[in-house]
């Protein structure tokens, strides 16, 4: 096994290596690695005649390998392919690869890598959605846990093909970044001090505006620079009054004031 060209994909990407090998009319096997993934592209007198990457073969395998931007490559001379899966000329292969890379650049601006994880958007605004079969196959595997690479492996599809479909699904508003879910307000927790006053305040405000009450209390206290543990009646009264002004329904606002006035009267 004679090896005469090697290097890393950080400095030289696959399309450039293919160009060099085609110009030199080389025959042999170009072996590439990208982490745990490996691929082979076979050349015969400068023409690409076969490629294989995981379960992919032919031009799909070339396109899959072409986007790798890390890993190593080695060219082994005189290792001919035992089959032909690519019948297009090298110019056509390179043109298709360039076109594919351009598409992938656009996709990676939205989907950073194959390790990204997506989940279904719970609040889909579009009511009438039509999906192609490949989109449907992929959307049913998205669960907020599997990465793009995992989905590609489970469906036996190329990673870049999965990324293309996910790009469309994200743009359609059907998916969202699973890691961003934790920052959604409904998952945040607010710890209010466990005092009688605070419990009554929370309870009365929850009756008026619902479960967002603790967040409104914390936000209002921040705005007023009020200490929720302070014993000052003036401060409590000011907090209650400000909170009541944030209740949009006037009847509920008065009910809230009514409930909380008792607290203050007892202290004055």
């Amino acid at each position: 096994m004679k090896q005469d060209i090697s290097g890393d994909l950080v400095n030289t990407r696959c399309p450039e290596i293919m160009k060099i090998l085609s110009l030199g009319k080389r025959t042999g096997r170009l072996y590439l690695t990208n982490g745990a993934d490996t691929g082979n592209i076979y050349f015969s007198e400068g023409e690409v005649i076969h490629a294989q990457c995981g379960s992919l073969s032919g031009i799909k395998a070339v396109l899959e390998i072409a986007v790798w931007s890390s890993g190593d490559y080695h060219f082994f001379v005189d290792e001919p392919a035992d089959m032909q899966t690519i019948i297009m000329g090298i110019e056509e292969v390179l043109a298709e690869t360039t076109n594919h890379l351009r598409q992938m650049d656009k996709i990676t601006s939205l989907i950073p890598s194959s390790s990204a994880i997506y989940s279904l958007e719970p609040d889909i605004r579009e009511k009438d959605i039509q999906l192609k079969s490949i989109q449907w196959r992929i959307v049913t595997t998205v669960d907020g846990k599997k990465s793009i690479a995992d989905i590609a492996q489970s469906l036996n599809i190329g990673v870049s093909d999965v990324m293309k479909v996910l790009y469309t699904l994200i743009r359609m508003g059907l998916l969202r970044d699973a890691t961003q879910q934790d920052t959604h307000p409904e998952h945040l927790s607010v710890d209010l001090p466990e005092t009688d006053f605070m419990n009554s305040l929370k309870q009365a405000l929850t009756q008026a505006i619902g479960p967002i009450a603790p967040y409104v209390i914390v936000e209002t206290a921040d705005d007023l620079k009020a200490d929720l543990l302070a014993d000052s009646t003036d401060q409590k009264a000011f907090l209650i009054e400000t909170l009541s002004s944030k209740i949009p329904n006037e009847r509920m606002s008065l009910k809230f004031l009514d409930a909380m006035t008792d607290w203050l009267k007892a202290e004055v």
Binding site: A237, I240, S244, L254, D258, L264, K265
Partner: protein, 106 residues
Amino acid sequence: MKGSIKDLLQIPGVQGYIIAQGRNMQIKLPAKHKFSGAKDRLMLLYQDLMGDDNRPGNTVEILLEDELLTIFLSGSTMLMVVSNLRANQALLRMTGKLIIANMVKE
């Protein structure tokens, strides 16, 4: 709703109140208070406030030298609370809002 005049008068610093509706006015202030005999002037103030369509809210506060007039308006009803500056103003406003809401409801 529990807001009543009695609750209002129990707030330390509250000296009394004035209620006006149409041509009627009720003044409950200590006899020596400077406003206790100022019905005409208070009526003019009431008419001024009622005539101002561009008023942004329904609570008006007027700071005098040593006391505060907190005025609650709803429809044609006015409740004016006279208090010193040490009264818990937030509690006073809360109670006043409840009272005026009760008065209009009745």
